[in-house]
């Protein structure tokens, strides 16, 4: 009985060690997690910029590509009113690995990419921008966005 237990444990250990072989170790943080656009006249500010946020990425892997994407969970919403999320874009530095882009609610958009190791962590400064318009209905609009750091 004891031998069976030891054999089983050993097999589990081997299996777990195999699973723990050096794969990508991914760390992602966003700060702050609240991104606000202040109200402004479209004649004065055709584009409204939010305060920059810091996106920190750390990737520990031997080789292979990696990417950071961002996907909106929908349009900006205020009650029954909406503002198409494609009116929100961003600029990001340093470039590379970070890049500019336009938010989408259907297709995750690449915000940064590269290959190999990113260790220690790299901080990107990301500034989201809202295209201002007289056609927007008054209201306080919100939406969440999801950042995903991946290494296949």
């Amino acid at each position: 009985m004891i031998r069976v237990l030891i054999l089983g444990a050993a097999l589990c250990l081997v299996a777990s060690m195999a699973a723990a072989q050096p794969g990508p170790r991914l760390e992602l943080s966003v700060s702050p997690t609240s991104i606000s656009f202040a109200s402004a006249s479209p004649d004065v500010q055709p584009v409204v910029s939010a305060a920059p946020i810091v996106v920190s990425i750390r990737i520990r892997q031997s080789t292979g590509p990696w990417s950071l994407t961002v996907l909106a969970n929908g349009d900006l919403i205020a009650g029954a009113s909406t503002v198409d999320i494609t009116n929100v874009s961003w600029t990001a530095t340093p470039a590379p690995p970070f890049q500019t882009g336009v938010l989408s609610k259907t297709v995750a958009q690449r915000m940064a990419s590269g290959s190999g190791n990113v260790n220690p962590a790299t901080n990107g400064s990301v500034t989201f921008r809202l295209a201002n318009s007289w056609n927007y209905s008054a209201g306080v609009y919100t939406q969440t966005v999801t950042f995903t750091l991946s290494a296949p």
Binding site: S34, F37, S137
Partner: protein, 166 residues
């Protein structure tokens, strides 16, 4: 517990607590918020309206010189709410002690949402109304009612346009 049993227990516990396989994707979320406040902006093609002198028998409604006043209105309002453009005379037309009531000034209008009206010194007259946010343009052609009974003189008054977006 024997040494072998302890070893088996430790191995089982360790293997059960081993870290998961590589992560396919590491997520993080943030919240976007945008404040869109009600705002209005109004532009008139001219700040002066002049009605030239004319024989009342020949011209009983004198159009303002220079043609229609073009109006450009921009407004951001709460969805479904009315955006209203009004005009109010600060007083009747005056020339010294002589007075001609502001109601002798009328206008015709063109453009979506614009309406014809009569000037008043007491109640704002509606020039245009729309629903919701957007940019709007139209024009007003002002007329002065020409009468033999008007005392001679050069009459003036000021009119104030107000564009409101709730």
């Amino acid at each position: 517990m024997t040494a072998r049993r302890r070893l088996a227990f430790v191995l089982l516990a360790w293997s059960a607590a081993a870290p998961a396989a590589r992560a396919a994707g590491q997520p993080a979320t943030a919240t976007l918020s945008a404040t869109i406040s009600p705002q209005a902006s109004l532009t008139l093609s001219t700040a002066t309206l002049v009605f030239p002198d004319a024989d009342p028998d020949v011209l009983n409604q004198i159009p303002s010189a220079g043609g229609p006043v073009t109006v450009s209105a921009k407004a951001r309002a709460t969805a479904g709410q009315a955006v209203v453009l009004t005009v109010l005379a600060s007083g009747d037309l005056r020339s010294g002690l002589d007075v001609i009531p502001a109601s002798n000034v009328t206008w015709t209008a063109s453009g979506a949402g614009f309406v014809a009206g009569t000037l008043s010194a007491t109640v704002p007259a509606q020039v245009a109304t729309w629903t919701g946010s957007g940019l709007h343009a139209g024009s007003q052609q002002y007329f002065f009612r020409n009468l033999w009974t008007h005392p001679t003189g050069t009459y003036t008054t000021t009119v104030v346009y107000t564009l409101s977006a709730p």
